[in-house]
């Protein structure tokens, strides 16, 4: 292997390692959100609104 070929392979391998590192880093950093979009469906069970014209039992 000539010296030139060796350097070319070294640069190629280095680039691949760098790209892989960047890809991993990007995956490790979480995406940031303040607002969350609604799901549109409730994960629990649904109920009727019922009679709302009465005082709530909860504090507040």
């Amino acid at each position: 292997m000539t010296r030139r070929k060796f350097i070319r392979k070294l640069v190629g391998a280095g680039s691949a390692i760098l790209a892989g590192g960047l890809w991993l880093a990007k995956k490790a950093v979480p995406r940031k959100f303040v607002r969350g979009a609604g799901l549109g469906k409730y994960p629990g069970s649904l109920k009727d609104l019922g009679d709302i014209d009465n005082q709530g039992k909860w504090s507040g």
Binding site: R31, F33, V34, R35, G36, G38, G44, G56, S59, G60
Partner: protein
Amino acid sequence: MRRELKVQCELCPKLCVIEPGQSGECRVRINLEGVLRSVVYGFPCSMHIDPVEKKPLFHFLPGSRILSLATVGCNLHCKNCQNWEISQANPEESKAAACPPGKLVQLCKQYECPSLAYTYTDPIVFYEYTYDAAKLARQAGVRNVLVTAGYINERPWRELLEHVDAANIDLKGITDEFYRNICSGTLKPVQEALILAKASGVLVEVTNLIIPTLNDKAEQIGELCRWVRANLGADTPVHFSGFSPRYKMRHLPPTSAATLDSAREIAIGEGLNYVYIGNVRSKAGQNTYCPGCKGLLIERSGYTVLQQRVKDGRCPDCNREIYGVWK
């Protein structure tokens, strides 16, 4: 590829990093395929029409009815939570009604409620629902009220406050240690939220729940009052509320009426003008008096207003301006 991504929720100071398919500490904000979603948007678990005094708000449209709602979830986990059955519930195990923001405004009109309260749990965790409903409500001439622990980051808080008319914000204690040990939170963000709400022109009332042995010492109450006076002003109404043994604090006794009376005396001594007592019967502690001439302005019995003498925002006897929203 996207579904493997973690998300970070920057709504509140907890800054939860959420794994795919999991929820944040509040239980209601989830990471679905690399995107933050609110599972409770448009799904209140509780909705009632309360007197506004129940929030408690004593300086905001006294005697009026307020449509009050909550979804499940909370970003704090107070060991003394009075509403833990809904605040600490998982949405998967709870029941809720479908009620989009527009329907809330329609209900306010139908039941002749001049205002809408986001309450019972904490509107911070159903932020998007609160924000959208508040915006629509204001356009329709309905006022918005938050009842909250104020544990939220500055940017979303500032944006929400633009649509809010009044807030009762808990100041649960005056030490970081109390917030860390009892509430799983920290003190500073709450203090910042209180200051920002007041500076934004929102009518602010403060609630401090007094828990025997934990935050009932005279020095602690005095320090809290001095902080309120220095940072929010002497006219900011403060409600000292009595604790009932609940959730993870069933071993402590309820707060005595004497402790609450003593807290009120301390607060008045520290120069606060409007100090109230909640969850126990107290004649003086539920009425509003003029800080100028000391005359009776609003007489209450429980949540009922018996007499309202504030006229055009002023004391009818000495003409002093009275802090509040009166019409």
